[in-house]
């Protein structure tokens, strides 16, 4: 811990470069949103789904990353398809997505119905949310496993590296997958 630990200049100097990199990644998902902006504006219910889908994709990834990281520190994780912790946490991530995403879809539909009316049916919105959530959970498991393994191989502390990478990559994937689900179902 240097003298700059608690100075404004020190904190800004350490954090700003990281923030710029993360912002550049996030602008990728902004550009994807821009690509299907016309569809989002025509169906505001889908716009309601945007922040919660981004947030949930990042949350699923970061929770899994934190659990893998702790297990790795404790020497309880091996990168093997038979590893109980690896498989168990992957299954939990899928189960969480399948539980939460349809509820999010129903919530988005209901709130938009109350606030401004909706042109999409409840099954369509729940379907978009469920399809996005299932694909996102699978991608979150893949991205987290690969990133944690890479950190482990390169002897980096997974706490420092994996969580920011996984959270922001999952944010971008969230928008991409939502875009794909809308293309298929709407």
């Amino acid at each position: 811990m240097g003298v700059s630990e608690w100075t404004v200049r020190g904190i800004v100097r350490r954090m700003l470069p990281v923030l710029v990199v993360l912002t550049a990644i996030e602008l990728g998902s902004g550009i994807v949103l821009n690509t299907f902006e016309a569809t989002l504006l025509r169906y505001p219910t889908l716009l309601v789904l945007v922040p919660v889908t981004i947030g949930m994709a990042g949350n699923l990834g970061s929770i899994l990353a934190a659990r893998f990281s702790t297990a790795l520190h404790l020497g309880l994780l091996s990168f093997d398809v038979d590893d109980d912790r690896l498989v168990g946490n992957a299954i939990a991530t899928m189960a969480l997505a399948v539980t939460v995403f349809p509820l999010m879809g129903a919530g988005a539909w209901l709130l938009q119905k109350v606030v401004g009316g909706t042109r999409l049916t409840l099954p369509t919105v729940v379907g978009v949310a469920l399809l996005s959530g299932t694909v996102l959970a699978a991608l979150a498991v893949a991205v987290t496993t690969i990133t944690t393994y890479a950190a482990y191989r390169f002897e980096l502390n997974p706490d420092d590296v994996v969580i920011p990478v996984v959270t922001n990559v999952c944010d971008v994937l969230g928008v991409l997958v939502l875009f794909g689900a809308v293309r298929i179902l709407v």
């Binding site: 020190g10 700003l16 550009i31 504006l41 919660v52 912790r85």
Partner: protein, 192 residues
């Protein structure tokens, strides 16, 4: 532990936090869904949304973590006063980071849209909206994070487990709502 036990424990531990952040995210979504007129009027505003939301979490989540660690180490007192230099520096740095990165995001957005030859509002409009939204949301989130961390600590709760959920639930709502307010102010002042 068997696969089933691992999966069950991970599911039970994660569900409450995810449910809480889903509620926050949905309210943010309702605000975003209601600002379709502004999104249509200011081309490129939607591009900023993911970056601004992520920034709120990254900057003010980090402020919460920093204050939490400092409380555990006894470096700061959990009292609301203006003469704790460490708290002042941490708050000022978070606000500076939050406002600066919002402005940078707006500049990058305009550059990116022009490189892709897509329509974009003027640089001045988007930068003004981003800076204003960054400042207002920064003040609100700083008050929220400092209050929850200090009050929680005084009541014997672990600030490390408080800051995260507070930022994830309030960050999205505050982020989108302040973006709407800032856009309306800038449009009223003649931007667009």
């Amino acid at each position: 532990m068997t696969v089933r036990e691992v999966a069950r424990q991970a599911y039970r531990e994660s569900l409450p936090v995810l449910a809480l952040s889903a509620v926050g995210g949905l309210f943010a979504g309702v605000v975003l869904g209601g600002m379709d007129a502004e999104l249509e009027q200011v081309a490129g505003l939607l591009v900023l949304v993911p970056a601004l939301l992520a920034t709120r979490g990254n900057v003010y989540g980090s402020l919460g973590a920093r204050l939490g660690s400092a409380l555990h180490q006894g470096l700061v007192d959990p009292t609301f006063s203006t003469d704790d230099e460490r708290v002042n520096a941490a708050v000022a740095a978070a606000l500076a980071n939050g406002v600066l990165i919002s402005g940078i995001a707006a500049v990058l957005t305009v550059a990116l849209l022009s490189a892709l030859e897509r329509p974009s509002a003027s640089l001045a409009t988007l930068v003004a909206i981003a800076l204003l939204a960054g400042f207002i949301s920064g003040v609100l989130l700083t008050v929220a994070v400092v209050s929850v961390v200090f009050v929680g600590y005084r009541r014997g709760l672990n600030p490390d487990t408080l800051a995260g959920p507070v930022v994830t639930t309030t960050g999205d709502v505050v982020g989108v709502a302040t973006l709407l307010v800032a856009t309306r102010i800038v449009l009223a002042l003649g931007g667009g």
